[in-house]
Symmetry: C2
Subunit: 597 residues, 2 copies
């Protein structure tokens, strides 16, 4: 996680609290995110901002006795769990919870200044770290309902003070002296006003979701993984290449590709599809059939038949005219969203040697029920002069480096996610993946191993040449080896045309990386650098070779052995966070039928 550096532009120049360089407040990370939880800042003044996570208002037991210090004031809570409420009221529970929470010793109960009645205890978070900061707001400063509603935004100035009793998970809180800004919330209308909204509910509001601790934690983990990836590749001498998103190459998998077009816009978005034509014709055919059956109206039947015939003729005319349409489109040809960056990236590897890209890729999922992401991010890597083993080593080193960085720098986030309902990150799973060498096993061995399993029956059939099902992969990674497994040398029919054919002419130099609990997180291959083998494989795969002539140029002119791999970034996040649903790994998920905003 980044350390939030800061400039000297703070107004409190002597303060150990430094203002965030580009906004007018100190980040919570620089206060409660410190190793001492902020203890060293007690007594200091600061400006902090954030959104309200939960709150409690200290109330007078009876009217007229509000200010009496001799009576323990009542506390009315918003968005606190039952335990949290108990803790604010029962000293013993407070003390136990405090000991469990962080073990930092604070002074005993004697010097405890009870919050006065009419004080709001508000936990705010600015997204810079997992920990909230508790601020206390006196009712003289503002109408308390403005600062106690979950989701409200506040920017406040105040004094940091050591917490003695009130909240065991906090070492310090801020006593607010000045309110600089309030962004209010109407709790009846704010969809996430419940302090513990369900994952399902949160997913419906992607534009507000990051205000929940779970989504914010996931976002920080995602960010850290991206930083770690760039750091790994820069340290190892790779160049980042922006391969295109719009592509005019449809390498046979057009069924899985989205079209990019301007044809709709030319006609103010009213458009006609061949389905429309066919539907109209079908309707007319039904009319004709009905008239035939009724035998009542010969003239009507004739007219309908004529009508149908004309419609058919027009439809054919239109379809013929329509087939050349893409030449009228923006790029003068059919264009698509790229499903994969490999081909374009290879061309740069065949010049710069070691290249990678972190880019979005787009894949159509046919099944309505499918939760697979249509817009995914992938890390793609290509290495010239490298063979299969090099690509496998690079995959292993890269993912180990990412996991290691994130487990170190996002430990609070991973802890939070594993303790919450959202995720189930097992730090031990990550640590074992980082520390021990991964299992490598040939596909043929894997199949033989699985066929000999006696302590478990698999639902899906398996024989050589068939893909491994999820339960097969799970058995290998979760039960047998209990670590990440790289399966390599697949039957050629299971892998893309560009995977290099082995001498047996049956298998190719390709691999899948299986992560425990998740399944395939990366796949890679040594690329076929021999022109004749490659063209044969393209033919065998039933692809249009004309679409790939440019790609073949890299084999015609100065061909080189090269290998690469592709990491499914969202699946990696699933592994690291323990999240169950891939839709929760990305800020605005796109799946079949769903693309909010």
């Amino acid at each position: 996680m980044a350390s939030s550096t800061s400039s000297s532009s703070s107004s409190q120049e002597d303060s150990p609290i430094q203002c965030f360089k580009y906004s007018r407040r100190a980040t919570l990370r620089s206060v409660v995110g410190r190793p001492d939880g902020g203890l060293g800042l007690a007594g200091e003044r600061a400006v902090v901002g954030g959104w309200v996570r939960s709150s409690a208002v200290v109330k007078a037991r009876r009217a007229g006795l509000a200010a009496s210090p001799s009576r323990r004031p009542e506390v009315e809570t918003t968005g606190l769990t039952c335990t949290e409420v108990l803790m604010t009221r029962v000293p013993l529970i407070r003390r136990i919870a405090r000991l469990m929470a962080n073990g930092i010793s604070v002074a005993a109960s004697g010097d405890y200044a009870r919050p006065a009645a009419g004080t709001a205890l508000v936990r705010i978070n600015d997204g810079s770290c997992v920990a909230d900061l508790q601020i206390t707001v006196d009712s003289s400063l503002c109408p308390l309902e403005q600062v106690t509603a979950s989701g409200a935004c506040v920017l406040v100035e105040g004094k940091i003070e050591q917490v003695k009793h009130t909240a065991p998970q906090y070492v310090v809180q801020m006593r607010v002296e000045k309110i600089l800004h309030i962004g209010p919330v109407d709790s009846d209308k704010y969809p996430l006003s419940n302090a513990h909204p369900s994952t399902e509910l949160v997913r419906g509001y992607p534009h507000l979701a990051a205000r929940t601790a779970a989504v914010a934690s996931t976002a920080r983990v995602r960010s850290e993984l991206i930083h770690a990836a760039h750091a790994f590749f820069q340290t190892n001498g790779f160049f980042h290449v922006n391969t295109p998103i719009i592509t005019t190459t449809s390498a046979g998998n057009r069924r899985k590709m989205f079209s990019v077009t301007r044809l709709f816009s030319k006609s103010d978005d009213s458009r006609v599809t061949p389905e429309g034509v066919r539907a109209a014709i079908k309707e007319k055919m039904k009319q004709v059939e009905a008239l035939k059956r009724s035998e009542s109206n010969k003239e009507a039947l004739e007219a309908a038949e004529q009508d149908l015939q004309k419609a058919n003729v027009l439809s054919r005319q239109l379809e013929q005219g329509g087939s050349t349409d893409s030449s009228d489109d923006y790029f003068n040809r059919a264009a698509y969203l790229t499903p994969c960056h490999t081909l374009h990236l290879e061309t740069y590897a065949c010049a710069l040697s070691s290249v990678y890209t972190f880019s979005p890729a787009f894949q159509v999922e046919i099944l309505e029920s499918d939760k697979s992401l249509t817009e995914r991010w992938t890390i793609d890597v290509e290495l010239a002069f490298a063979e299969l083993e090099d690509a496998m080593s690079c995959t292993e080193d890269c993912l180990k480096s990412l996991c290691s960085t994130v487990s170190k720098d996002c430990s609070d986030e991973l802890k939070f996610l594993s303790s919450s309902q959202a995720g189930n990150a097992s730090n031990s799973l990550i640590e074992s993946a980082v520390s021990s060498p991964w299992q490598r096993i040939k596909y043929t061995e894997a199949v033989n191993t699985l066929l000999q399993v006696t302590d478990k029956t698999f639902e899906s059939k398996l024989e050589w040449g068939m893909p491994l099902s999820h339960e097969h992969m799970s058995y290998l990674a979760d039960d047998l080896y209990k670590k990440p497994v790289i399966i390599y040398e697949y039957p050629k029919q299971l892998k893309p045309f560009y995977a290099r054919l082995k001498e047996d002419l049956k298998t190719v130099s390709a691999f899948d990386l299986i992560m425990p609990k998740i399944g395939i997180v990366a796949c890679g291959s040594q690329k076929e650098e021999r022109l004749d083998y490659l063209t044969t494989r393209i033919d065998e795969s039933g692809l249009q070779i004309e679409q790939l002539e440019w790609y073949l140029d890299t084999r015609r002119h100065g061909t080189v052995k090269h290998s690469g791999f592709s990491v499914d970034f969202e699946h990696l996040i699933l592994f690291v966070t323990g999240l169950k649903d891939v839709r929760d790994t990305i800020p605005f998920h796109r799946t079949k039928g769903h693309a909010k905003y």
Copy 2:
């Protein structure tokens, strides 16, 4: 630029040359990219690979005398410039050029071992650095035409030796002892076989272009800028957020957006547009007119008129059916490629506070002649609790940091680009941009200043409320201030609806950054956080407010002052490299009518 680290997996464990960790050779960067040009490695053995840039073959003057050491052998060159050829032949020119090139003193001519006749001198490059490595290949090792053709790929093993005379820009060369791989080239068919192909020619072959020194240098600069950007934001505590590429929000600028669809694919890519229908009807109308004019065939006319009527009816039916089409599309609604990441990124800033993204954005250009990129990459930044001035400071710091890194770590690339025809990078321009504070000037001041200019007449008219033209911006940045200029507080009609309205109700808190020689490289604004002002501005802009309801939620619930900016990454590359054409800043450019591969 990244340092290519390396493991101990090299076979030559004692060698100071370390093998690149994930491929079977040392990078040229680790040999000739060293500060000593590789001198310290003389005598060492290594494996290197790369593509042939140019070559020369030492020929015997006469047949039969080839091996005679007493005669100076002739040199036949491929892809060398005139000066380079001269240098290989005339000792004095060699010596002068050597002194000019690097000033490294090498031993005098006495100990010079002339290359034997039948030896090829081949300059290879593997893309890891600007410098080539010269390898010498004896004709006994392979047919020399295989290794001398420009574009051929070689992987060779040999001994590094100090160069005395042959090539002034080289300190060391490699005497090849073993050829491990050759990827040949048929020079007649290889489009870039000319050693100095024109920029125009290279642009036509984006899949091979990175084998030229200019495109490879640009690619490395681009990569380094990306790394520097991530480093800047990580150091400053920002989180990277992947905002979506496919969006279903068309905030009024649908005219400038690409549609994303699956409707074409459902029908095997044969499709019908309303244009097609109308064209068919037009054709029929012409027939009718012609028949009317001829007056010869009443029956034919009647039939044609009937036909036309039917076609019209069917066309209306089809168009009505077609208008609801997007509900049949993949996302059950119209979907687009995002033209801008601001709106989605803002929602994450209103939760995580300091966020950025480096993402592709898509914009339709209407003019055929326009060379603007349709697929661009932008750095977008949003900061909660930040005002206009914070965003301007962050822009300045960010771009200074990027320029500073690239001028330090890509100095060879920038030097090369400024010396070649491709670019015209002025290092002094970059350095002055890095070292001095940038000019900040209000739009109103800028207009007043420009209206008072007497030493120059501008072609385009200017008065308050009009946008500044390119010549106005150029006058301010190139002539008047001679440094980057930030112009801020624009009339509201010149800026998007989300820019925050100032108290004068006429101007908004928005800015443009003008870089010398280039024009606008970044723009930003403080966002309107007040719900009522924002809805008014949306209305005024003629946008559909229903499309933006989700965006307004961030103002309804816990609104916060926030500011941000967007860097046009390809324009930044233009500034840094001095390239003239934005199409050369990105690996596979997409412009109107052009999207190769």
